[in-house]
């Protein structure tokens, strides 16, 4: 790091500096991965539910039986 960059780094307030420990950064990444995974699970669940059959194969046969009974 050049002297200017070093000096600049020292002038940045402590709060604004990247003071995140690798372990806490990894923990946050894992949390984000978890949220992402459940986001995908939500999308997949809704999509599966939306594309599920409206008429059950068994209902069709029940209807068939009912019609043939008439």
């Amino acid at each position: 790091m050049s002297d200017t960059a070093f000096e600049l780094g020292r002038r940045i307030p402590r709060v604004a500096r990247l003071a995140i420990a690798p372990s806490s950064l990894i923990r946050w990444i894992l949390r984000i991965v978890t949220v992402g995974l459940f986001g995908v699970a939500t999308a997949a669940g809704v999509s599966l539910g939306m594309s599920a059959p409206e008429i059950s194969p068994t209902s069709v046969v029940h209807q068939h039986v009912a019609l043939s009974d008439r």
Binding site: T34, V40, A41, G45, M50, P53, S59, V61
Partner: protein, 435 residues
Amino acid sequence: MRPPRLIANTLLALIWLGGALAVLQVVLSGGVPSEGGASLVAHVSGMAAGYGAAMMLILMSRSPWLERGVGAHRLARWHGRGGQVVIILAVVHTLLAVQAWAEARSTDRMAATRAVLSLPGLTAALVGMVILLLVGLASLRSLRRRISYERWHFLHLLTYLAVALAFAHQLAGSDLAGRRFVQIAWSLLYTYAFALVLRWRVLQPFFQLWRHRLRVEEVRQEAPDVMSVLMSGRHLDELRAEPGQFFRWRFLTRTTWHAAYPFSLSAPPTCEKLRITVKARGDGTRRIFGVPIGALVFAEGPYGALTPRRRRRPRVLLIAGGVGITPMRAMFEVIDLPGKDVTLVYRASSEQDLVLKHELDEIAERSGARVVYLVGPSTDAANEMSARALNRIVGDLSDHDVYLCASPRLATRVRDSLMLGGFPRHQLHEERFSF
């Protein structure tokens, strides 16, 4: 920290409530045909089996909230009992669905079976049910003893396939079809269950392998058929493992990579080292003894609620039987009480079976805690493990938190005796290890 029993009871109530709603919506939806009782029972048992299968996946997802909050031992017990119920419900559903079909179409059962299997998704569901049935049979006590842990474990992993195969049939079943909101809720139940499994049983161990690079550092013989495996790695403090907890270990060598074994830490974890102590019970565990130094270790965990943090009373009694000493050895070193009022009762059938004895004696001498060895046949009155006998050893037993880890037979005997003797249930903490 809330006591695990409270969390467990709340969770159990929620699971029952969910099951009741799933079954109730079948009856209230009006989707049940009025042909007869067989049809109604088939519908109700099918919904209950589908709901139960998702619950079993969630309970065994190794989610830390469940493992730490409820406890691995309790989760395994629920899974064992619940799994049996799910399999019975699935079988009842299959048989009565065919029966109801035969009644509705006035055909024999053979023709009804052929007709049912020709419907979309039904053959896959039947394959799933057969897999579940095989898993159920392999888990029967009499058969389980004859099957190696590795085969039983592999068969159990097939249940994921079985559940996935049955899913399409559930979604298209007449109890859900055409009811968009319920279909979405049902799909979410399953995608969340699989997401939990993926997160905690697949991603987490891979992440830990990458982050901690756990490797075998030393394999040391402790007793005939008992070895300690010392592992070293990086940033192990991030695992937040506690004495008394266990991991599922998979040693990445050509002969051992395919099976994960649950073993407790036998020493308090440090930032760089973890240690387990293993008793050979079969070919699989014996192969671990031959794991080369430097082998990578894939560790799932930490799991279990048997930790010093559960302590509520001013005195502690640790009870270990056989190789159940491992989590107790780790806790014995770290439980720090005023006056060192800690007693460890260690039961073994012979002097040779006393594992890590020199370490226990050293800790006792250093810390002022007490260790009592009960060695010899269980018929010997001196080796009695009843509440009365334990009370004689420690004084006022009711003033203790009791930690118990032993073989299922010994653990049951001690627990039953404690409960009969009026010992408060919430002061008993245990973890049982059997598959």
